[in-house]
């Protein structure tokens, strides 16, 4: 059996992380070697946590080295547990610090998902303050941003992050790996009740069903009552062809997203700025999403320095019918929201429809009409959403009905 293992990262370029090394001994008790920039302030607290961890994992004799760059307790615990699992395998009881109160907020199928911010799942420093930037969703990514040899450590860190970090009003999302590894990801994160699971490289409805089945099993075992939604990502030719079946595979699917990097490679095209090569696919996914009554989410915009091009790209996505865009830098969020904000003409039209609806309600009419035209319920619903979005985007005051705007 192995007697030494380590997990985490240390070094001058590392922040908010630590490297935990564990060496099992037969005797001598627990020895802690701590090198930390916060030794003066939190050295006592770190040593107490390490002792508690040793007890939890039944290690009365061990040399524990912590090379710390200001890791928060949940990160230290995740790194410690990863090292233990590397020593002993996965058959150990998880170490869970108390969950921070109030960080789980009720979800909603049709909430706005204009922006979703990707965070590399194995880097704690970006997650700690991710919630302050106002994204509609925050994705803790276990897939492409995590190297294959760190998947185990990332999974534990993401699990602990979901228990500890307050993402404010953002929907708590996790991007898992493809099966079979994705199933282990689900085992680790579902008990922490994320709001939504992003599934990469989905090609058929069976991919969705397999994930749904695994989630259902965990939900039952853990007694989870909250909704946990799915957002399959279509990023292959096969996935695009099966988009409708994917969107309709489970009632938990609330949105279809696209990934263009893999898709363009898959069809043998070169990815261009104009994106003509993916035009059919974006249309196909959007149409499938609408047919299934779910949201359609566009790909990420990867040039973080070009905010004007991002804005144009969001406007284009909005014009095509998309509801959201991926972000890889917090500064993109406000631009994306501005891009998805309704235009003045859209707001004016929506206001007319909502007023007409309001009048009809008040006078007890079953039918809403504007001038001589009858208005269908989906149009009213869409207008209400435009109004909500206008308020959310700061373009319309919440009490616009009372205030009136003709003056």
């Amino acid at each position: 059996m192995k007697t030494k293992a380590e997990a985490g990262r240390a070094g001058t370029a590392v922040r908010s992380d630590c490297c935990v090394g564990i060496e099992m001994r037969d005797e001598g008790g627990i020895a802690i070697e701590l090198r930390s920039k916060v030794d003066t302030l939190y050295g006592r607290s770190i040593r107490a946590l390490v002792t508690e961890l040793c007890m939890h994992f039944g290690m009365p004799h061990a040399v524990v080295t912590i090379d710390d760059s200001g890791a928060l307790p949940y990160t230290i615990a995740a790194r410690f547990e990863a090292a233990v699992r590397r020593l002993r395998g996965d058959d150990v009881p998880p170490f869970l610090l108390p969950e921070r109160e109030g960080i789980r907020r009720p979800g909603a199928r049709d909430r706005f998902r204009r922006s979703r911010l990707y965070l590399p799942g194995n880097d704690p420093k970006l997650a700690i303050n991710a919630g302050i930037h106002g994204a509609d969703g925050i994705i803790l990514d276990l897939e492409d941003s995590v190297s294959p040899v760190e998947k185990d450590a990332a999974r534990l860190l993401v699990r602990n992050t979901l228990r500890e970090v307050d993402f404010g009003g953002a929907e708590r999302m996790v991007r898992i790996n493809q099966a079979p590894m994705g199933m282990l990801d689900l085992d680790a994160v579902i008990p922490q009740r994320p709001g939504l699971i992003l599934m990469p490289k989905v090609e058929t409805d069976r991919d969705v069903l397999a994930v749904q089945e695994r989630i259902d099993g965990i939900r039952e075992r853990e007694g989870i009552e909250e909704d946990i939604y799915l957002m399959p990502i279509v990023e292959s030719a096969k996935g695009a062809v099966n988009a409708a079946a994917i969107a309709m595979a489970s009632p938990a699917v609330v949105a279809l997203a696209i990934g263009l990097e893999d898709y363009t490679a898959d069809i043998g095209a070169e990815r261009t700025l104009e994106g003509r090569e993916s035009f059919w696919m974006r249309g196909a996914v959007l149409n499938a999403a609408r047919a299934a009554g779910v949201q359609a989410i566009d790909t990420v915009f990867s040039d973080v320095d070009d905010m004007e091009a991002l804005f144009e790209s969001v406007r284009e996505a909005k014009a095509l019918g998309f509801d959201g865009k991926g972000c890889i830098h917090p500064r993109q969020i406000a631009v994306v929201h501005r891009g998805f904000a309704p235009t003045d003409a859209e707001i004016d039209k929506a206001k007319c429809i909502v007023r007409a609806f309001d009048d009809a309600e008040r006078s007890g009419l079953g039918v809403v009409s504007l001038g001589s035209k009858m208005i269908d319920p989906p149009v009213v619903k869409r207008a209400l959403r435009t109004i909500t979005l206008a308020v959310k985007s700061g373009l319309l005051s919440e009490d616009w009905m009372e205030v009136g705007d003709e003056a």
Partner: protein, 521 residues
């Protein structure tokens, strides 16, 4: 060293004697009114100086010898080259060569490039430092290794100490990018141009002896003469006085950190919401990444709303220079250039004005520029729930930064500290600052990534921003949130009773002391 300590008006236990001289404990803002007449240098006679104006001396060692360098003297140098200064180290190498001991080094600031002076502290050439102690020198002092008590003063406080005789400079050594043989010199021309020489002004006027060291000797007249040759005793020509590219000391780029950008943006929005952003206003922001980002956000707002500032206070950088050239401000009043674009602009643009601590910050003046500035944006290592701030020590108690113009700038009409609420796991918003550098009465607003706290003393700002939609919260609430994130209330640093440095307030009184960190001999 054992010191008798008394409680000052800020509730801090401070020394009453510094290196054998009596020291006045802090009495409160604007409460200390010393009387008498200013200090003065000895009366010189022009008959003793060469009629042809040529004061060039062969080398620094012989110049120091000629100026009468001897044990126990006070030697001053200046930091307009920041981390690229090459002169201070050579002065003390020369002193060592001459076998001189127990000197007091009185720099306008020290930088990591001065780490070699530790050798001269160890060997006894330097007795102690009175000036900011950055990096390795701060660590050296924090470990209790310096013989005398360190004294940290603001730029204005340094001027005050020279003017009221608290510090008498025996020999000032001024590194000048260009000089003539008479000693007229400036920092804006020559291959080592670094900007203004304002930090050396007091020294030139009040020191017994003044040496100018240059690597660019030009025939008389050297114009502009930021330092007048009429004050100068000797001119030394050397191969290189400094590395101007190092005035860009890593802090003069806009931050890329999304959290810091958010803080900068909130700060600019606060300035607008508070009604400060209006035609003819003025602001000062430093050269740190967040301060620069603030200036950029402010610039965009000014462009959008067609607002023009009357003046902007530098630390100038290319960003301020661009604003000047774009017509977004009438003037830059510049105390210190932070990049080479700033140097060039100061040289070429008549609206880029060279200032010094005398016009900006000096307590013994009949008024100062600093208090006329509408809004100033500054950094801090810690702020406590009473808005007191620390800029000189880290939370572990180690002396690591100087005061610079920070204390002096607090007198602006609105002082804002944009700071992260914690750095990694180190809380910045705390119960009580480790070292008090700025009293809370003068600090109006802190802007963190987790919300903005307004000092309850500034009801006007509270009222003005009430409906701004900005995330304004009580400072205690931010502090509690930070502690909850960082894993509880942090332990206090373990400090010994040994006082290693005094922190002066702008008026020369002692506002706090720094103690030796424990675990050191």
């Amino acid at each position: 060293m054992k010191h008798d300590l008394v409680n000052n008006a800020a509730g801090r236990m401070v020394v009453t004697e510094i290196n054998g001289q009596p020291a006045v404990p802090y009495k409160g803002i604007g409460k200390y009114h010393p009387e008498g007449r200013k200090a003065a240098p000895p009366v010189p006679t022009c008959a003793e100086y060469p009629q042809d104006g040529d004061k060039v001396v062969g080398d620094l060692t012989s110049a120091l010898q000629k100026m009468g360098l001897r044990n126990g003297m006070t030697i001053s140098t200046h930091h307009h080259f920041r981390n690229g200064d090459l002169v201070a180290n050579r002065v003390f190498d020369a002193a060592a060569e001459l076998g001189v001991k127990d000197l007091r080094w009185f720099p306008s600031a020290s930088f990591p490039c001065h780490a070699p002076l530790i050798e001269h502290l160890d060997s006894g050439v330097i007795h102690h430092i009175e000036g900011s102690m950055n990096g390795p020198l701060g660590a050296y002092a924090s470990e209790g290794k310096m013989r005398g008590l360190g004294v940290l003063r603001s730029h204005g406080g340094r001027y005050q100490a020279i003017q009221d005789g608290e510090v008498h400079i025996d020999i000032a050594v001024i590194a000048a990018p260009t000089s003539d043989p008479f000693g007229n010199c400036n920092g804006v021309t020559g291959p080592s141009a670094c900007g203004g020489l304002g930090f050396a002004l007091a020294d030139s006027q009040y020191a017994d002896r003044v040496i100018v060291v240059t690597d660019n000797l030009v025939p008389f007249p050297c114009v502009p003469w930021q330092i007048m040759g009429n004050h100068v005793d000797a001119v030394v020509v050397t191969d290189k006085v400094g590395e101007p590219e190092k005035i860009v000391s890593g802090t003069t780029n806009i931050t890329k950190s999304p959290d810091r950008l958010l803080i900068a943006e909130l700060t600019a929005r606060f300035v607008e919401a508070a009604g400060i952003l209006r035609d003819g206003f003025s602001f000062q922001s430093g050269a740190g990444g967040t301060s620069l980002a603030f200036a950029i956000f402010l610039r965009d707002m000014m462009r959008e709303r067609g607002i023009r500032a009357r003046f902007v206070r530098g630390g100038s950088t290319r960003y301020l220079v661009d604003m000047l050239e774009e017509g977004l401000t009438d003037y830059i009043l510049d105390g210190q250039t932070f990049d080479l674009a700033g140097v060039q602009s100061m040289r070429d643009n008549p609206r880029h004005i060279h200032t010094n601590p005398f016009v900006s910050y000096n307590y013994h003046n009949k008024g100062n520029i600093a208090s006329m500035v509408d809004v100033v944006v500054l950094g801090a290592t810690e702020v406590d729930v009473n808005f007191n701030a620390n800029v000189v020590t880290h939370s572990d108690g180690r002396l690591l930064h100087g005061i610079g113009g920070w204390q002096n700038c607090l007198f602006s009409k609105c002082t804002i500290l944009p700071i992260p609420s914690f750095r990694d796991r180190i809380p910045v918003v705390v119960d009580e600052v480790t070292t008090l550098c700025g009293p809370g009465e003068l600090i109006d607003v802190i802007v963190t990534e987790r919300g903005i706290a307004i000092n309850p003393l500034r009801q006007d700002l509270i009222d003005a921003t009430k409906h701004s939609g900005l995330p304004i919260r009580p400072i205690e609430e931010i502090k509690r949130e930070v502690e909850s994130i960082c894993g509880g209330v942090p332990d206090r640093p373990q400090l010994t009773d040994n006082v290693i440095a005094a922190i002066k307030w702008v008026d020369g009184t002692v506002i706090d002391v720094v103690r030796q960190v424990s675990g050191q001999p």
